[in-house]
Amino acid sequence: MKTIYEISKSGKRAVTFAPISVPEYTLDSTLTRDELNLPSLAEVDLVRHYTALSKRAFGVDDGFYPLGSCTMKYNPKINEEVASLEGFASVHPRQDTDEIQGSLALMSTLSAYLAEITGMDAVTLQPCAGAHGEYLGLQLIKKYHEKRGDVKRTKIIVPDSAHGTNPASASMAGFDIVAVKSNDEKGVDLDELRAVVGEDTAALMLTNPTTLGLFEKNIEEISKIVHEAGGLLYYDGANLNAVMGIVRPGDMGFDVVHLNLHKTFSTPHGGGGPGSGPVGCKSMLAPYLPNPGVVKTDNGYEFSFSEDSVGKVTAFYGNFGVYVKALAYIVTLGAEGLKEASETAVLNANYLKARLEDLYPTEKGRHCMHEFVVSLEDLKKETGVSAMDVAKAMIDGGIHPPTMYFPLIVHEALMFEPTETESKDTLDEAADLLRSLYEKAHTCPEELHTAPHHAAIKRPDEVKAARNPILRG
């Protein structure tokens, strides 16, 4: 398909503006540019170009999207509608507080609800995505130790099964990273943990359920080990969708948590954002949250400022439009609805797992939570068909592939997260497809090696892309 520059023809235009109604002002020519190359298209050309692009994309509205760790649940339409209300969309962020009571009430309410859901004492909404939340959460931890004069705590412990953002965020926040190995049950190895904690431990970062989709049964012991060593416990909320209303990070012993509103709270992912990564913490960390906070006073809602704040992590108050959608979701579901969402997410995952596990081995003898990881190591040995091959063949079946080759501790991994919004029919279709692909791997492996066959493109040459980068048209 042609690029927008390839269909551009000078002389066309899509939009006209009002004429300038005052004397035109001309800036000195030493300040101005001569050349500017943007596309020229009629409105119809523009619409058809982007419509064609949209048909070469795939969202949750198009079909099943069991991308593990990403919680691709259905994004309710009312959320989009209310975020576009003029009273939200047309408000300037620097208007006086008496004129933005709606926005402040919304932020305060959402923060309070998220605090209740996570068992935390305070929540900031400011971070713009999960990794941004991690970054902030770690800054809170850093400041906490510094304020106590405990300046030797320079290390963050991260399990080898962790999301890549965990060590990257810790590094951005100025910490060194210590990896801790997993045990036979794919949880944190307690002896390993005891061996690495010490007076240089700032915190341990953990997801629970873990990236294997299993509940970390030893969480209380882990919490004890880390806290007794003087460290704090950080909760990566990527997997919160399994446990809303069932168990709270705060009750498990976590001191800081980040959430992903674009995962757990149904806001759309937009092809890679905007997301939102609120951070919750226990009261001893609250003074370090970013400025400004929002507080309710006798005169309504106001901004609050803390002298000990770690500072701002983005402009204004973060991705406000995303908060509107997340609040609409929580208000719609309520306490019971959120719990039912998590229960159903876990039911759906266990059902899909049950329908696959005789062919696609996964962790035995335990129920998974909202996601599960299968290993295609044996299938690859038997047939030469890899996790990548099966994933690509799923595309021809109209299903978005699961997360591939993650977590790193499972070979030939595929990680499925169906979410609660999928029907039994959808899960059955996916299971049937995967079972047929397993057969095909044995009878006709070449068809899988060369999949997909019916997508917009065949497999792309990624090595060429990285070796000879062409990054603009």
């Binding site: 939009v15 298209l41 439009g321 129920h367 990285a466």
Partner: protein
């Protein structure tokens, strides 16, 4: 209560039977009982109709203005209809990050085209796929330049939010942030500034003034630093491109290009740099390649920089960025085109100069002497608050009150002569 689920009771029963458990709760047996929580203390769920009413009532507690003369980091521009229409398509809205290239060519190509437009706008060689905001783009641009010489110099006339975010990010990395006083509102970089990793400057600056960036770039380079330049993208419709001004890294807040003010977000930071700095750049990048049949294809590339490959040695932790906002920016730029962007920029600066002249005629003074683009600061001793209050009565949002004497005004192409004459008249009435 709506629940967005799609299972009948009979289906649930059949699923539990297949799994081999009696009830859903049995699936949670790994969770110790004493950790299980009581019912969450949240209100009961609502019907869709009730949720809409609740949200609308909240939105009504915000004030909406007929005319807006406030900028300071968030700008009230006209958004062409086609922008919202295209960017609401659910294939774009409800997709994840394009990890599966075969299924995501539309999104990858849209990002590639975004990168192309940002390169053309900034004059730089390569652009990434977006940052959370102009403020985080500024911070990450400085970090990528200050990995060896841990010293960044900036000026007190940059956007205060950007200053705050710079300070947060650089402090965490152990990078010194030096803030120089501006002279008559403008940035001046002394020749003896000493060795620096980066110099960060905004053009126009927070006061709307057009900076002498060329000399800053030369001094910055003479002292071993990279020049990180933040620009309002509307101003780039008229002003020299960041490349022409000597920038090594061009960043900025692209909200003015098609995104609503939306109480401060979601917005989008852009970042573009030179070929030389390409592999140090943070964030997602889309590249062109071919598929196994030799056809053109797009993929996420240079991923060896990124967190999911390099973990703690990544150039950044960024994962989700602001992809849908990048799409919005692309559609905006493609719909207005070069002529449209020039027109918008020309209208902004013409309107701002008209308003400034009108206010001066009524007795306000301009705080600074330099040339400005579409924002300017007035001095009206002791009267600033009274002016803003008087404007509010006519449902006009005046400029940003900086202190008791000064106001930072902004005019976009949405300002009409009629509305500006009204502002001038009201200010005249106060003075």
């Amino acid at each position: 209560m709506a629940d967005y689920l799609s299972l009948t009771d009979a289906e649930k029963r059949a699923m539990l039977d297949t799994i081999g458990v009696d009830k859903v709760d049995d699936l949670f047996e790994d969770i110790p009982n004493k950790l299980r929580c009581k019912k969450l203390n949240l209100p009961d769920g609502k019907s869709q109709q009730e949720t809409y009413a609740f949200m609308r009532a909240l939105s009504k507690r915000n004030r909406i203005y007929d005319s807006i003369f406030m900028g300071a980091g968030s700008y009230d521009h006209y958004i062409p209809s086609v922008v919202k229409s295209i960017c609401s398509r659910s294939e774009f809205v409800t997709a994840y990050t394009p990890y599966q290239a075969e299924m995501s060519q539309g999104i990858l190509q849209a990002i590639f085209e975004y990168q192309t437009m940002i390169c053309n706008l900034t004059g730089m060689d390569v652009s990434n796929a977006s940052h959370y905001s102009g403020a985080t783009a500024a911070a990450e641009g400085c970090i990528m330049s200050a990995d060896k010489v841990k010293r960044v110099v900036t000026f007190d006339n940059i956007n205060p939010d950007v200053m705050d975010v710079l300070s947060t990010y650089l402090t965490a990395r152990g990078i010194e942030l030096v803030v120089l006083d501006s002279v008559d509102g403008k940035a001046v970089l002394p020749d003896d500034i000493g060795i620096v990793g980066a110099v960060y400057c905004e053009n126009p600056n927070f006061y709307g003034l057009i900076e002498d960036t060329t000399s800053i770039a030369v001094t910055c380079h003479n002292n071993g630093g990279k020049f990180v330049l933040g620009m309002n993208p509307i101003a780039m419709g008229l002003l020299k491109s960041p490349r022409e001004q000597g920038a090594d890294i061009a960043i900025g807040e692209a909200q003015p290009l098609g995104l609503p003010m939306s109480f401060g977000g979601p917005y989008i930071g852009f970042m573009a740099t030179t070929q030389k700095e390409m592999r140090k750049m943070p964030g997602r990048i889309v590249g062109e390649t071919v598929d196994s049949a030799g056809n053109r294809a797009y993929v996420l590339t240079l991923q060896a920089r990124e967190q999911h490959i390099r973990r703690e040695r990544a150039t950044s932790n960024i994962c989700s960025n602001q992809a849908l906002c990048a799409l919005t920016v692309s559609v905006y730029l493609a719909s207005v085109g070069s002529e449209g962007l020039r027109h918008v920029a020309k209208a902004c600066t013409s309107n701002a100069h008209y308003l400034a002249n009108g206010l001066v005629e009524k007795g306000a003074k301009l705080c600074f002497n330099g040339e400005f683009f579409h924002e300017f600061v007035t001095l009206t001793e002791g009267k600033a608050e009274e002016i803003i209050t008087a404007l509010k009565k006519e449902n006009i949002l005046g400029g940003l009150l900086i202190d008791a004497d000064t106001i930072l005004w902004c005019c976009t192409e949405k300002a009409t002569k009629e509305s500006m004459d009204k502002v001038i008249e009201i200010v005249g009435g106060v003075l």
